[in-house]
Amino acid sequence: MIKVEIDGKACEAPQGSTILDIAKANGIDIPTLCYDPRLSPYGACRLCLVEVEGARALLPACYAKADDGMVIQTTNEKLERIRKTLVELLVSDHPMECQGCSKSGRCELQRLADKYGVTESTFTGEVHEYDLHRENPFVMRDYNKCIMCGRCIRICREVQGIGVYDFINRGFKAVPGTPYDKPMQETPCEFCGQCISTCPTGAIKARPYEDRGRVAALDMLRNACAYFKMPEEDMMKALGLEGWVTRTTCAYCGCGCQLDIHVIDNKIVEITSPLMVGSGQGNLCVKGRFGYDFVSSSERLTKPLIRKKGKFEEAEWDEALDLVAKKLSETKKKSCPDSIGVFSSARATNEDNYLVQKFARAVIGTNNVDHCARL
């Protein structure tokens, strides 16, 4: 363990911790943009610069490892001025059309701009005008909103192990891109959407939730967030809609990734994964992130069906349940309990599986119960 002092507060931390790690653990807020706990530190945005006593230069808190006895200042006039300048510089090349941007309310740049009171930049000059990339069904890229934090590039390489993106060009013209600017479906992209999950601004967005999943209420929410400069959660709280995000477990493979299902008007408007929680740690795959259209599919069964004269007819629950109970009871009585088979489901919950096997054993009286573990 090492001891350091941050803003006058004595802190203890394991050897090898970064200054940012320690600050976070001690509730000290240092602004960041290129930081994501899933990624190795990068030190590019410079917002987390802190002053360390005796150091030759300002150090990026996300990158610099703390040494025992370090005395650190995370805020002072100079640091705040630099941070404001940095935000102004970023804003000077960013379309500040937050109303209508689906990242409004959780855009990290927007939050910093609010914090430093930057509405428009004092630095005016050339602004990028890139074409929108929307050539695939999942990932939409709008590099006019890119702040070059490199998180998409790093997450694709470090977490997904693929490396679909890298920077192209130099200087002001530097921008992330795919090899030879190919559409993403012609790269090894797996459409996991990790880049979407890490992008701090509206530069990379989930197209299904942008294009198709839109509902009027969500638009209103975004506009309101932009207008009142309020984080999304706070806005929802103010509207009495805290429950709009539900934490649950992914229903696909057995990895058990944690999902946050965002729901407005009984519709899924987006799926994200909470950072550093569960086996996925905030990462998902194409199915977990984009594969939930089925829930609100028009093909969903909404009424019991009973086959009458070879054809399905909609029925009331009572009628259907009575029929099932009657038929099963009859079979049990006429043949034996073991002439009934019960299939439970590896998709269903533990509780439901438990009830189904209990039903087979206690109600029907057979051990003929199984599920598709083998398939």
Binding site: A44, L86, F123, F167, N169, R170
Partner: protein
């Protein structure tokens, strides 16, 4: 060379570096070979690297058997028959063409070399860089042999520390200390890198050394590898230096044949390999962390330090990086002793430094001088003062990361600390001289546009900050500056310096800051009076022809793209200010300097 050793009467050596080739040395070489092949002359032909006389290339040096020599400059293929006929055939020196004579080193342009002290450039222009034999003949690889067979690595580091040499790449960190860190850094696997990614505009000393004396760099690397415990070295050289790369390849191959590289060097159990890694020409790859990323096959972008390369370098292993010039000096230091090196220079800056004289100086080229020379000595005594007899205005030192110093700083000693105190840096050793026709705002704009273009784009202040600074400068040069622009520049420059990730961004504002410090009036003149006193910024000047001096030669008429110049033959001409686009083509063509920009 006391005796050319070939039994022939003369040895003719052609300066065959990139500068010479660019000036036409290949044609001269062909011509020389053809003349000699005709069999009429009893001479040996050889090539050498750049002698440093870039202002008068191609250069041919002719040695007689006694070792005396005459250097001829500005040689063309056409001049070759006459040169051979007169000098070799008749034994008569063609005085008009002479640059330097061994019997009177100060004469002609000889003071250019006579005022120098050549340690790093000791062999440049003297030996054939494509022949390891010539290098060995003058004592090459003796230092390496001595160190590997009779010294401990610590002793080598001590010797280097004693010499007091500081890293010649720009930062001026004491080399011995740096090696000591790498030596002590735990780990079996260590790497050594030679930074040959020279990229400052106007800097070409590394190229000249690699082209003229690659073996001294390799020998320096062998010594460094031995000292720090690295068995693998890399030379990161930009692909735009094809001749340097070619000569390095030859030199490495020769070393392998001689057993100076590979397993069991000099019969010891030490092994060392050197690989050349070609850089794609990104300026930022000269920054050590970006260079290592590039060697690893990644995009060359810097990473924050700490951790430093000495502990976490190439592929996460302890790594030592030095510049070409530093390595080239090491064999001399080991051979002659660190103390001897330390006798040269000032208290805190030992030894010599190679400067590249460029810009409006009369003699452009390579100047190696002891630390402690004044700027005036370098620019005037070595460089021969300002070209075309104009007035000295400023010297930009250290390339785009450096700063410019005005006339009142000419007596500053060339020494890391003094130059830094004055507001510039020694950097890699570029000296770009400006005369009174140079607009300092425009100069700052030029350097900033360079760094902005070469920014890797990783960190915010460098990527967008320098862009916004550049845009302000561009506005000022166009006469659209605002009164608050100066303060804006100063504040932004300060934040960029403090907040940038690497030295490229951290030093990018320097040219602006020093010009603001020494030439603020020029900025104000641009902003408030919409005037460019140097007559340089197109938007702020008018061009007119002085009727007193105009001879009516019409040279200007031929180059004017908008036909704005009219006049009778042999009569003074006039410029139509409406039609003139102020491209200044006429200005550069006028033989009588009658065109005035105001």
């Amino acid at each position: 060379m006391s005796d050319n050793g070939n039994g022939h009467r003369y040895k003719v050596v052609l300066g065959y570096g990139t500068c010479g080739i660019a000036a036409g040395a290949t044609a001269v070489k062909d011509a020389l070979e053809e003349e000699v092949k005709k069999g009429s002359y009893d001479v040996d032909l050889d090539i050498a690297g750049c002698m440093g006389l870039c202002f008068i290339e191609p250069v041919v040096e002719i040695f007689d058997r006694q070792g005396g020599s005459v250097v001829y400059g500005d040689i063309t293929a056409k001049k070759v028959p006459q040169l051979l006929e007169e000098h070799v055939g008749k034994g008569q020196v063609i005085e008009d063409w002479v640059v330097k004579k061994s019997e009177d080193p100060e004469a002609c342009e000889g003071d250019f070399l006579a005022n120098q002290l050549r340690v790093v450039l000791r062999n440049c222009g003297k030996i054939n860089p494509e022949s390891i034999e010539e290098y060995i003949q003058i004592g090459g690889y003796e230092a390496a042999k001595k160190a590997l067979t009779s010294m401990t690595p610590e002793e080598v580091i001590d010797e280097v520390s004693t010499s007091g040499i500081r890293g010649r790449g720009g930062a001026g960190f004491p080399t011995g200390t740096k090696w000591g860190f790498a030596r002590k850094s735990p780990g079996e696997e260590k790497y050594l890198i030679c930074n040959a990614d020279e990229g400052d505009p106007g800097a070409f000393m590394d190229r000249s050394v690699l082209e003229g004396d690659p073996h001294s760099v390799l020998e320096g690397m062998i010594l460094a590898g031995f000292a720090i415990g690295a068995r693998q070295g890399y030379i990161y050289c930009r692909a735009e230096y094809p001749l340097a790369l070619k000569r390095l390849d030859i030199a490495i191959e020769e070393c392998h044949q001689k057993g100076f590289l590979g397993e069991g060097i000099f019969g010891t159990d030490w092994s060392f390999e050197v690989k050349v890694k070609k850089g794609a020409g990104a300026f930022v790859c000269g920054e050590e962390t970006a260079m290592m990323a590039s060697i690893e096959g990644q995009r060359g972008m810097p990473n924050p330090r700490p951790p430093f390369p000495a502990t976490h370098g190439l592929w996460g292993k302890p790594t030592n990086i030095n510049n070409v010039e530093t390595f080239a000096a090491i064999p001399w230091i080991i051979a002659e002793g660190g103390e001897k090196y330390a006798e040269i220079g000032t208290e805190k800056s030992k030894g010599t430094k190679v400067f590249c004289l460029a810009g409006k100086v009369r003699r452009t080229g390579l100047a190696e001088v002891p630390m402690g020379y004044t700027l005036r000595q370098v620019i005037f005594d070595v460089g021969g003062g300002i070209a075309e007899g104009r007035e000295f205005k400023a010297v930009q030192m250290g390339g785009p990361s450096g700063g410019c110093l005005p006339a009142e700083k000419l007596d500053t000693q060339v020494d890391y600390d003094q130059i830094t105190a004055a507001g510039a840096i020694i950097g890699s050793g570029g000296m770009i001289v400006a005369d009174n026709r140079t607009c300092m705002v425009d100069l700052a704009r030029y350097f900033l546009s360079f760094t902005q273009d070469e920014s890797c784009g990783k960190c915010t202040p460098c990527r967008i900050g320098t862009k916004r600074m550049l845009e302000i400068l561009e506005r000022i040069c166009e006469g659209k500056g605002e009164p608050e622009d100066i303060e804006k520049l100063q504040v932004l420059a300060g934040d960029i310096k403090d907040a940038s990730l690497c030295a490229l961004g951290g030093t990018a504002p320097n040219p602006v800051l020093t010009t603001l410090r020494y030439f603020k009036d020029e900025y104000e003149d641009h902003i408030f009076n919409h005037k460019c006193a140097a007559g340089s910024c197109p938007a702020l000047i008018t061009l007119r022809i002085d009727p007193e001096t105009c001879t009516g030669c019409a040279a200007c008429v031929k180059v004017c793209p908008t036909d704005a110049i009219t006049g009778e033959k042999k009569e003074p001409h006039v410029i139509d200010a409406e039609a003139c686009i102020r491209c200044k083509m006429c200005l550069s063509r006028c033989p009588s300097e009658s065109i005035i920009a105001e």
